[in-house]
Symmetry: C2
């Protein structure tokens, strides 16, 4: 068997060798292959890591290969590791295949000791520089490899600064540095029991081993578990010749993005700090300058940088995030990787790169994450706004909100319902706060993670929310929220950004979501490849218009109950509900008929021939009556009043009686959906009449119309048959009366497990299915959403008993399994059965991927999620086309 190759020199690797070289190593190799100026070095592979983790030590074979490659590095640099004349110094950096925080990261200046430090001093003619490098090595090595707390070192530095009366580390004298080094070495020996290893080879091996071990540290393990990364992958280690940006004015270090990461504009965007190393930028003692200034100060370097940028973008076909160092006027590329960017920038860059001929449309689509696109459709903070960041927490539910601070849910409810904009600020929320959250514009908590109560509930409500903002200390007793510097009281104004987690003081300009022309073109490419149709859930003509603007191909769910909730109609609806006889009910319904007809007519006109799926009345009737306590109070008031109208009193008492009789133990599983239609057939009859009359009127004006009437909550085909029979009868009646032919279909929601299991029977009668995954998730899990989200789902999520909130992300195994069963059975009876989804999951990318794979015809979601769905559907289609 050939010997296994555990070490690759940079020019031996390639970008597609991430798995064994790690992301950083693969990109360094690729840059070397592109002849970009990369300080030479080599990568110890993830295989070596696996070997080390298995054996608990570095094998002779690995050590031997490392040594071989170190020799080559010496030859290339013309320097020698451990030489006192011209010592080779190296950096060691970890780099797994997947970027992963929590692991040991970097040790610089390896190879220095009491002897080589003087070699460095003479070779660079800079003793202070050499001593500073040595000091840094001891500190990094001690901390990273030997776990000595930073404080030990920082205390020493501070002591010496005090002794010398200087403020910055760079002002410490040569003698001072010598003293620092002496004390560092003493601390090292005290803490580890061993002297600091002076042998450069020993330094190197210990550091590589430490990187390998860090793969298994607690934070890394947790990160991997949370992100579903296999423990088996391991990390690679990059050993690279040191270059220095901190050796004078012709030196420096910088980071840049090849395009503007905030809006995607094509320009080099970054920062440069002269005479500095990377850590100095992080330390923030000096303010970096824009990279563009290099153009004047070091035009050759800048030109070379521009060339490198062009080369890397063309090569990687993506916007890059680059680290570089200039040593004595010479440019070195230290790292390149795909740059993080805002959703806005992602779309702009993908769009532009197609027009630049860099990538094709399909590749452009894959460059944008569907879930990120959602942000573009939320209100957001004007990037031009000069907002003062007060604190930062976790972005728990995207969107920006601005309003008066209130600390109490009742107060939030009171002010919110009066139309004031309020931000509910709490240490954490509980189910008792939900009524306040409903009326608040946004929610901010000082405690909790992304799966705490506030986060889950706010996401459910689509409400901006920042949680775990620990800088803020909230004192409910005094009604203040304070950072170290600022005190905020009730009524003060805050702005929160639920995407970034930022909290701003005062009012900040917000931008309403719009669809930019680039975004629209980009989405049109998505439309070209996707197989899944995308519709919107829209209940009003305004919603219908917005749906079309966002690219919906029809309405997948038009809920008719909201139409009854308008004030003037509610009264008529209540009259209907308290009616004792079918005749009285019909009289009230006769008054609702013209209103409903107008509603449907307006929606049909907006949709102009696109399909409109109308769900017949779904909620239980008691939802249209006031709360019992409220009616009781009104009765009391009427009784107490002087001019008590006996008629009014009798009416209220009737209503109370009806409310009591409609009360249910488990309303979710009670008299709702088609069960209401079965018990009170007059209601569905009125709605059907309204739909067909509206359709006839619109058709008469020469406008196409395609109503799809949807019966909710079917659990047995016999329910459907009874109701559909009546709908067809009324359709016939209206068509005859209006002497016009209306094309329509009658189908059903599939939202009860039994409907999935008996879908073959149902599909013999129903012309289409639409999965109502909100209710289906409730019944498949046996979870009441109201109770679960308020009372136990957060516990399940935090303990890992559930990976995701199944009301947000479709549960593929359980709910999805039943959907697949329903689909397969349904199509077994009716091969051309049209099947969609209209639960909230219809706008969630992961769930859309499932819907695509399962073979649904379309998804339907809220208008604002339509662009997300279009892109997610395109991604799913592209995944099908992609090779394994």
């Amino acid at each position: 068997m050939a010997e296994q190759k555990f070490v690759y020199f940079f020019d031996e690797g390639r970008a597609d060798m991430r798995e064994i070289l790690g992301g950083k190593g693969a990109n360094l190799a690729e840059m070397s292959r592109l002849n970009l100026p990369v300080p030479p070095g080599f990568t110890v592979t993830t295989d070596a890591c696996a070997e080390y983790r298995r054996a608990g030590k570095m094998s002779e074979e690995i050590l031997c290969q490392v040594k071989e490659h170190l020799r080559r590095l010496e030859r290339e640099r013309g320097m020698k590791f451990g030489s006192t004349l011209n010592p080779l110094l190296v950096s060691v950096r970890s780099g797994a295949a997947v970027s992963m925080p929590g692991m040991m990261d970097t040790v610089l200046n390896l190879g220095l000791n009491e002897d080589t430090v003087s070699g460095l001093a003479s070779a660079t003619s800079d003793e202070r520089f050499a001593l500073d490098c040595y000091r840094r090595l001891i500190q990094m090595f001690g901390n990273v490899v030997k776990k000595i707390e930073h404080d030990y070192f920082e205390d020493i530095l501070e002591d010496v600064r005090t002794e010398e009366g200087v403020r910055g580390d760079h002002e410490i004298s040569v003698n001072g540095l010598r003293a620092v080094i002496d004390r560092y070495l003493r601390v090292y020996e005290e803490e580890t029991g061993d002297p600091f290893p002076t042998d450069p080879w020993e330094q190197l091996v210990l550091t590589i081993e430490a990187v390998f071990r860090s793969w298994d540290n607690e934070r890394a393990r947790v990160y991997r578990r949370v992100h579903g990364i296999s423990d088996e992958m391991g990390t690679a280690v990059n050993v690279q010749a040191m270059v220095y940006g901190n050796r004078g004015e012709k030196c420096g270090t910088g980071v840049l993005f090849t395009r503007d990461p905030s809006d995607g504009t094509r320009r080099i965007y970054g920062e440069y700090l002269s005479n500095a190393q990377g850590e100095d930028v992080v330390a923030g003692i000096r303010t970096p300058k824009p990279v563009s200034e290099l153009k004047e100060k070091m035009p050759d370097v800048y030109r070379e940088l521009e060339e490198a940028v062009g080369k890397l973008e063309t090569h990687y076909r993506d916007m890059q995030d680059i680290e570089f160092t200039v040593e004595d006027g010479e440019l070195f590329m230290l790292q390149t990787r795909a740059g993080k960017r805002t959703a806005l920038a992602a779309v702009k860059i993908a769009h532009d790169m197609v027009h630049e001929g860099l990538i094709d449309k399909n590749e452009a689509l894959t460059k944008v994450e569907p879930k990120d696109v959602g942000v573009l459709l939320h209100r957001r903070i004007d990037p031009e706004a000069d907002a003062e960041v007060l604190a930062k927490g976790l972005g728990a539910s995207p969107g920006a909100a601005c309003g008066k601070v209130v600390f109490d849910a009742d107060e939030a409810e009171a002010r919110g319902s009066r139309g004031e904009s309020v931000i509910l600020v709490r240490p954490e929320t509980t189910p008792d706060d939900i009524h306040g959250m409903v009326e608040a514009d946004g929610v901010l908590t000082s405690r909790g993670g992304l799966t705490c109560h506030a986060a889950i509930v706010a996401r459910g409500m689509g409400k901006p929310c920042v949680v775990g903002c620990e800088e803020l200390s909230i004192d409910l007793a005094s009604g203040t929220a304070s950072t170290d510097e600022v005190h905020i009281g009730e009524g003060d104004i805050l702005t929160i950004d639920g995407a970034s987690g930022q909290v701003f003081l005062g009012e900040t300009a917000l931008i309403e979501p719009t669809v930019a022309p680039e975004f629209e073109e980009f989405l049109s490419w998505a439309d070209e490849v996707r197989r899944l149709g995308v519709r919107a859930n829209a209940d009003t003509p305004v919603d219908a218009r917005r749906s079309l603007e966002f690219g919906a191909e029809g309405i997948g769910l038009c809920r008719t109950e909201h139409m009854f909730m308008q004030r003037e109609r509610l009264k008529v609806m209540q009259d209907m509900i308290v009616s004792f006889s079918a005749e009285d009910r019909e009289r009230a319904l006769d008054r609702l008929l013209p209103m409903q007809t107008e509603d449907f007519e307006a929606i049909f006109r907006e949709m102009d021939g696109k399909p409109v799926t109308i769900r017949l009345l779904d909620p239980p009737l008691h939802e249209f009556l006031p709360d019992r306590a409220e009616i009781k109070a009104e009765i009391e008031a009427l009784r107490g009043g002087e001019s008590a109208s006996r008629v009014e009193l009798a009416e209220k008492e009737e209503m109370l009686q009806r409310a009591v009789s409609l009360e249910e133990v488990n309303p979710m599983l009670g008299q709702r959906g088609c069960r209401v239609g079965i018990l009170y057939p007059e209601i569905y009859a009125m709605q059907s009449r309204a739909i067909f009359t509206a359709a006839a009127r619109v058709l008469t004006d020469g406008i196409e119309v395609l109503p799809e009437i949807m019966v909710p909550l079917i659990s047995d085909v016999r329910e459907f048959d009874e109701i559909a029979g009546e709908i067809h009868r009324i359709a016939g009646e209206v068509q005859k009366r209006e002497a016009i032919e209306i094309t329509y279909t009658v189908g059903t929601m599939i939202e009860i497990p039994r409907a999935c299991v008996t879908a073959d029977e149902i599909a013999r009668s129903a012309e289409f299915f639409s999965f109502g995954t909100n209710d289906l998730t409730q019944t498949v899990f046996g979870f009441s959403r109201d109770d679960a989200e308020a009372k136990f789902l957060h516990v399940y999520l935090s303990r890992g008993l559930l990976e995701e909130n199944p009301f947000a992300v479709l549960d593929r195994k359980g709910v999805g399994g039943l959907m697949e069963m329903g689909l397969q059975l349904g199509r077994s009876s009716r091969s051309d059965l049209k099947v969609g989804i209209c639960g909230e999951h219809g706008g969630d990318p992961d769930s859309i991927e499932f819907c695509h794979a399962a073979g649904l015809d379309y998804v339907s979601c809220s208008p604002y999620r339509v662009p997300v769905a279009r892109l997610a559907a395109a991604h799913s289609a592209l995944q099908d086309a992609a090779p394994e």
Copy 2:
């Protein structure tokens, strides 16, 4: 092609030709073959009926075959159809393969007209008899074939009786009968527009056609739909020579059962009326005598009858219901069929016939319907009791109850909870009456059918109930229930029989259910053949003992929550629930531990090594707290009182707060089952500790014990793993402490759709499954049982949207489909997975048949249903063995 045979002479047929000869025809044929004295005749087949229904008329071929067979009948009897000298008269009777009310039944004396009637008169030397026969023919033919209302004929009869001054029809003179016939013929012509057909052949053909047509009348169609009988079967028609039991003292007619149909004793049991025809018995003018009297009066006939009885029982291997006629001292057998019998008799007869060598054990088992056996296990009315039947309604829920009449649910609750026996009497019940039904011993309504609210709810409660007792008029205002003769007021005593629907005045002796020795032996035969195990649901040592008495092989569901409901424990339970910290909860649980341990110990001792499946706490915690309104009232009282204890007040306020925080929108889908165990692990830990400690104690005494710990409401394997891990930990702890090895398993209820769909995952961890079909039915249908049974299920049942209440009879397609999925997936991961059912369906024969076919290992049901389940399981096994 050979000509199709549409007509069979009796001696050409056999008992197994029911499908083409109908039940009556096949049995007449069989009796002929047995050389029993059957008046000769022939059967027109169901094929002829099909042909008639298809063509709308009798084909030449059929008519020709009928005529041929009529000729043979003439030859055999030596008489001639239509002869004026010795006319052959025939009866025509319908007879489908399945006994079916609602169809045209019988026309007698066909062949008579003005001419033949005198032939009959001279042949029988009885003019009055001949005229009466003719009169009956016109009336029956007119009514049955031509749909002339009976009243027309009855009015004429009454007029003539009045004219002659006589009371009975048999007293009308010859001249009177002539007048009746004249007027009958006139009415016939007026009503039909045609004269009465004098041609005997025409009479015969019209009558056969009328029978065929009656197959499609409304009542017959409804009956078939309700009983799932195919419309295609059609009916046969039997044409038989007339014999007369009404031609003098040596004539008569009778019916008999070959064994006593009420208790199964082996003796001829029946009635005989001399000088009479069948209709006279029905008319009830004279009281029939016991058949046994024939022994003295006509010993030859009786001996012949005894021989026929022996022959028929031996031949049919079942108890027979026989009709016979004696004409001039000669016995004729008119009909034989399996006799209806009580459940008690059914068991006794099946048992005895095995011992008599008539049938084998397996055949005996098939002779008793499992559902009927249930009656033997309810309290029933002492058949010796001399009870006065007040009225009769529909038997809606079996069992007998006796108590004071109350007309109001509140009053029923008040008296019932004081320990009084009460019968709640209402026109009908509504959900507002449920609290009264709970406390009543029985329920009686004057309105409603078998699926009305009262019926459904009472069956659910296992409470005796009679509904639709329309003879009773109930006046709530005055508090009386009255028949035409009797007025009953509140506090008067009634007895109801929920099986027969009878209502008795006053107290009636009731018999507690017992298992007779014959029944026990019979059930032991069931045990020999059944494959399904049968366990009982038992929560207490008393239940456990009863389960064993009824033959249970273990406990399939031991609910632990009832153990907490006992008064002294409830307080401790409440202390635990209102605890803020896990520590406080544990302190309260420590007090419950010894009590639970004792409970389990006692049950284990009773069960003596048989498996005991213990379900960990299942209901939501708020069920252990008093109602909110109740706590509020107590707080008010404490505040108002002089000696208000501040501690007590604080405690109550804490409890109220906890009750509010535990309140849920949909408790059925909320914080219950294993969710409580996840949120408060201390509770399950205490229960596990109690189980293992009890097991250790019992084992120490040398008694075997096999606890199966069952985790309720699992929807994902991760829930199960978390809880099972803790149970195993505690098991280890106790085994170590007690130094004893305990054999136990940990499994789960499958009662959530998601558990069925992910059963492969769950079965990797769970050692057994038990389908909780009560909850599974709720979630699969999306029906809250509380709400559905109270509010809409009766509408669904009455409109045929559901065939059965799915909470009583397992929904095979929906719930059953998911069970099959769960079973198959579960066994795919664990091939020896033990699977049972512990919902109420475990005691329902139809559902047991499903469980057997699906491959479950056992069913578990209430102790009283165990015998039903044993027999139903045996039936299922025998069905497997039966040839197709």
